[in-house]
């Protein structure tokens, strides 16, 4: 947990290529409000606006969407689901005929009768209609204008205003999801058409061949929507070939046809691009707003008293910073210091004690900034702004706000800071970390060659044994076997990392460095990384854990249940020449409030010592008791999540046998 927080650079500018900015700005709000052509829910007719589409659906297909929606009291999400449901059904042609649409209408009317009830119960209803599935929140058509167009009318302004935020935020998230997993959600024809690989085309062909004649015809009609033009083109070729019934051949042909299409396909591209641009205008704003909201929570939580108490009471942490600041006078004496995310201001006060000539403490929480101001005043370190030269001791200035937005009030020149200090580390180093803000401060305010404290951060992994789990406890509860409960605990832990202290004796393997950051030079993007590691059994753990029942081989097998992740941050002699300091959160050093991060394997891996590897053991799969592994190798990826300030961890593990046979488990994703 980092002390107190700063926002990272706005995530929109972070995630989008800079070129798009101009597009957004050039686009402007007018364009965003322009009506956009949309495809009918049921046929391939394109109509000039969402409104027109709904009108067309009512007239041509007896499906009055807006009325149904109003009658059934569908909320925003339900409406999204319904549109996507219909689109996906039409695309799949599972049951999409006039009767099916009647059925759906029926069920919606039914719901209309119960709509009050439904609202109260949320999703508690026992018989949930198929379209209510959350998978239908994922747009089927990319940039489907209908998804924005359904409540252009009817609702009063207030409501709409409020909804707009939610809606845009939700849509943004959904679209992001979609782009991340386009392949896996390829139920819609358009998705398939766009990914455009041979396999997908084969699938596409199958899907297409299964379509009903009428829809095929419609798709093939010359009035087709640009977005589906590729599909339409194929469709005509397919229908002619259909009787030959040679799917492979068709696939190839389609492939060729499509590649030709897309190389001349500038015409259909245009409207699509425009749609994207419009979206981005909205999404840029939404992203900003979202970042602000998340930050609000974040800074809100950091004003919470308990966290500061916990952090100050974490002696390992506070001592390390104190030593780095107070015991390095050659660095701090007369230095200009900036403290990013100052919290109670303790690091700034250490710096002031150490003889800094100017200390600028910044915190994103105005409440904490006020507290820090009070504290620095009470201790005689606050700079007296009324008469700047009056007190020799008053060196500290506290600013409230995001470091990225404080240019106006910063009492120091750009690149005027000698020492930048921050306690930015989160759980697993990077979870909820404010590292991006620190790096921003470094690039903008730190002198070239200035000191950053800490200046290194390293992440490690090691394997842990059964003691790192609660399995033993559940194996004997008052003499009863509750193993299944323990297994459930472990199952839970295979999906979500656990923050807990791992006892040094439960670490059973060597450790491996998975990432080293140099804070003086790194970029914010470096926090997304993939790393290989190799772990071997520690000699000592053979003696302590006698779990083997393998009589035949008399080998001590030790089970590895997962990986423990920790980090060290260094105040190295590069800057701290008088007294370098290492702040470690390892299982082998005194515990800190960060504890360690525990990633549990889906299946434990049997290990034996390397020196025993001469004996031939291959009775079973590698990593099982019959064939214990001599090493665990793997690949771990840590990346910033699409959720602000969160991270995703993925882990692929292999067991390597003494004879170098390898068994690899499927990749595990840890959701934080």
């Amino acid at each position: 947990m980092a002390a107190s927080m700063r926002p990272p650079p706005e995530i929109d500018s972070d995630e989008e290529e800079s070129g798009d900015w101009e597009e957004w700005q050039a686009g402007g709000p007018e364009e965003a409000e322009e009506e956009e052509a949309a495809q009918c829910l049921f046929c391939s007719d394109e109509l000039p606006s969402s409104k027109a589409v709904f009108q067309h659906c009512a007239e041509a297909h007896s499906f009055d969407f807006l009325k149904l929606r109003a009658d059934a009291g569908l909320d925003f999400y339900d409406t999204l689901r319904l549109i996507n449901f219909i689109r996906s059904k039409v695309a799949e042609n599972k049951s999409w005929s006039a009767e099916a649409s009647l059925e759906l209408q029926e069920s919606l009317r039914e719901q209309a009768g119960l709509s009050v009830d439904t609202k109260q119960k949320g999703t508690a209803s026992s018989s949930v209609p198929a379209w209510k599935d959350d998978k239908f929140l994922t747009p089927v058509l990319e940039n489907d204008p209908l998804l924005y167009g359904f409540d252009d009318e009817g609702e009063d302004d207030d409501v709409e205003e409020m909804n707009a935020v939610d809606r845009n935020a939700a849509l943004r998230e959904l679209l992001e999801d979609k782009s991340n997993s386009a392949a896996s959600t390829s139920t819609g024809l358009e998705v398939l058409a766009e990914t455009g690989t041979r396999n997908d085309l084969a699938d596409l062909t199958k899907v297409f061949l299964s379509l009903g004649d009428d829809i095929r015809e419609e798709l093939a009609s010359p009035l087709d929507v640009p977005m589906t033009a590729d599909v339409a083109a194929e469709s005509s070729s397919n229908s002619s070939l259909q009787d030959d019934g040679a799917p492979d051949l068709i696939a190839v042909e389609v492939d060729e046809e499509l590649s030709v299409k897309s190389s001349n396909g500038t015409e259909p591209e245009l409207p699509k691009k425009k749609g994207k641009k419009d979206l981005k205008v909205t999404f840029a704003e939404v992203a900003k707003r979202e970042a602000r909201n998340v930050n609000k929570d974040y800074f809100g939580s950091y004003s919470a008293f308990g966290i500061h108490r916990e952090m100050l009471s974490d002696k390992v942490r506070t001592d390390a910073y104190r030593d780095a600041l107070v015991a390095n006078p050659s660095l701090l004496k007369n230095a200009v210091v900036m403290d990013v995310g100052c919290g109670t201001g303790i690091l700034s006060l250490f710096a002031a004690q150490a003889g800094a000539s100017k200390v600028i403490a910044v915190d994103g929480s105005s409440k904490m900034a006020a507290v820090a101001t009070e504290i620095s005043k009470a201790n005689g370190f606050l700079k007296d702004t009324s008469s700047p030269e009056s007190s020799s001791k008053g060196v500290m200035t506290v600013l409230s706000g995001m470091i990225e937005e404080l240019d106006e009030t910063m009492p120091v020149e750009v690149h005027g800071v000698d020492v930048l200090v921050s306690e930015w580390m989160g759980y697993c180093l990077l979870f909820e970390s404010m590292l991006p803000s620190v790096l921003h401060a470094r690039d903008r305010w730190l002198k070239p060659g200035g000191a950053i404290l800490p200046d290194t951060a390293e992440m490690f992994v090691a394997g842990f044994g059964k003691g790192g789990t609660s399995l033993s406890f559940w194996e004997n509860v008052y003499g009863f076997n509750m193993k299944s409960v323990g297994e459930e605990v472990v199952r839970d832990a295979t999906q979500a990392p656990i923050i807990d202290v791992v006892d040094s004796k439960d670490v059973i393997t060597t450790s491996a460095l998975i990432q080293a950051f140099d804070l003086a030079t790194m970029k914010a993007d470096d926090t997304d990384f993939t790393s290989q590691f190799k772990l071997e059994l520690l000699p000592s753990s053979r003696d302590t854990s006698k779990e083997s029942t393998n009589e035949a081989t008399k080998l001590d097998v030790v089970w590895c249940y997962g990986l423990v992740v920790w980090f060290d941050t260094g105040f190295t002699e590069r800057f701290c020449k008088d007294k370098p300091v290492l702040l470690s959160t390892s299982p082998h050093t005194p515990r800190t409030h960060w504890s360690q991060t525990i990633l549990t394997f889906k299946e434990p891996i049997a290990l034996c010592a390397h020196d025993a590897s001469s004996e031939k053991m291959d009775k079973g799969k590698v990593g099982s008791e019959g064939c214990p592994a001599s090493a665990i190798t793997g690949r771990i990826s840590i990346a910033r999540s699409h959720r602000h300030r969160s991270i995703d961890i993925s882990l692929e593990t292999s067991a390597v046998s003494p004879s170098n046979a390898i068994r690899t488990w499927p990749v595990q994703m840890f959701d934080i």
Binding site: Q120, K121, A124, A304, R322, I375, N379, V477, V489, D500
Partner: protein
């Protein structure tokens, strides 16, 4: 990311949605029949996290008391039908099976029931114990039961307790003359002094690494004392004999009685010390009441309600005298083995200095919150010497 220890019994309730539908009203109108209310769902989900069960089972005082009580009543339980309301991992059901029960219905609405099934199977008791995954209120069991066992007690006895479900099960399935385990429950309160906690919360900020952080004091006080705290307090910190706030006979208690619990008190301090707050705790006893008690106070007497206070004090004093063979008591008092319930502390913002024998009086009312029926409103009035204060808090 989840902190293994963050999920205690208490924090389970924090997972509940803050704005809840009006449960009682909705239920009365029958709008929401068999399906779970969102709130219930969250509650049961919280309890399906195994961490809570680990905490509860590891509470030996609790689990031992239940085991002893069940074995103590083995003669009654043998060949009988038992219902375990809120069975969790199923441990109480297993105890009952070992005590010779012919049939045990183990009921739990949270997903832990899935594990309970596995546990029962692993211990080869599937022919005796039937695990039912659902709310007691939704069950269909076509036989009456002889024994209802349940570990329903929450913090301060009544906070987030399952007593309502136990009462429902009792009224619907318990045979006349059946056994309730536990059988009696009593909620106590006493004024306490706790200089250590006070200084830990307040004085910490006066010097942090030599830095004066008194600016944090208002926040610190608010954080430390606004809401009830769950913590163990030393027996020496208790300033008077306990006050009985509520006695519950599990065979006769009604849900209406539990909506609001109110008691006046007047005690005298046994020492000179600053009054820092009030501690609440409870005990439950299993089986027939201690003999001399029943003699003293006929349970069915009409004068019972008037005599409650007297009766309660008797119970609490005789508890110490009671031999385990007379009655098994699970106590969460400051002088008992610490349990996962600890005690519930209501701290006052500014301590009152009280002298030995000085009177401390007032009233306390615990009532269901309108905001969320699982929350509890605590309204405490207290006076001593010239000071008279009111403290209102919500246990969330």
């Amino acid at each position: 990311m989840r902190d293994k220890y963050a999920l205690t019994r208490r924090s389970a309730s924090r997972l509940l949605p803050l704005v809840a539908p009006p449960v009682a009203a909705a239920a009365k109108e029958g709008v929401v029949p068999a399906s779970f209310l969102e709130q219930d769902r969250a509650y049961f989900q919280a309890y399906s996290h195994v961490g809570i069960h680990e905490e509860m089972i590891k509470d030996r005082a609790r689990t031992d008391a239940y085991r002893d009580a069940i074995m103590f009543h083995a003669d009654f339980i043998r060949d009988k039908v038992v219902m375990d309301v809120g069975c969790g991992t199923g441990i109480l059901s297993i105890f009952c099976a070992f005590a010779g029960a012919r049939k045990v219905y183990a009921v739990d609405a949270s997903d832990i029931a899935v594990q309970a099934k596995e546990v029962v199977k692993a211990n080869r008791l599937s022919d005796v114990i039937t695990v039912l995954h659902g709310r007691v209120e939704d069950l269909n069991i076509n036989e009456k039961v002889d024994v209802i066992v349940s570990e329903w007690m929450g913090y301060m006895l009544l906070y987030e307790s399952m007593l309502g479900s136990v009462i429902y099960a009792r009224d619907r399935w318990l045979k006349t003359g059946g056994l309730m385990l536990p059988s009696f429950a009593t909620l106590y309160m006493a004024p306490v002094t706790n200089a250590e906690k006070y200084s830990e919360c307040i004085d910490f900020w006066r010097s942090v690494y030599g830095i004066d952080m008194s600016a944090m004091l208002p926040l610190a006080k608010q954080h430390s004392f606004e809401e009830p705290c769950i913590e163990n307090i030393a027996a020496e910190s208790v300033l008077s004999w306990p006050i009985v706030i509520k006695q519950i006979n599990c065979k006769t208690i009604t849900i209406a009685e539990l909506e609001s619990v109110k008691a006046d008190f007047s005690v005298s301090s046994i020492m000179t010390a600053p009054l820092h707050g009030f501690a609440l705790w409870f005990d439950v006893s299993f089986g027939t009441r201690v003999t001399q008690q029943t003699d003293l106070q006929s349970e069915t007497s009409l004068g019972r309600s008037l005599a409650v206070d007297h009766d309660g004090v008797e119970i609490c004093r005789s508890k110490k005298r009671a031999k385990p063979s007379d009655c098994i008591v699970l106590s969460t008092a400051p002088d008992s083995t610490p349990t996962h319930w600890a005690q519930t502390l209501l701290y006052v913002y500014d301590p009152i200095e009280v002298k030995q024998d000085q009177e401390i009086s007032g009233s306390i009312e615990l009532s269901q919150s309108k905001e969320n029926p699982r929350f509890m409103n605590i309204f405490l009035k207290y006076r001593s010497g010239t000071r008279e204060c009111v403290k209102e808090s919500v246990m969330r």
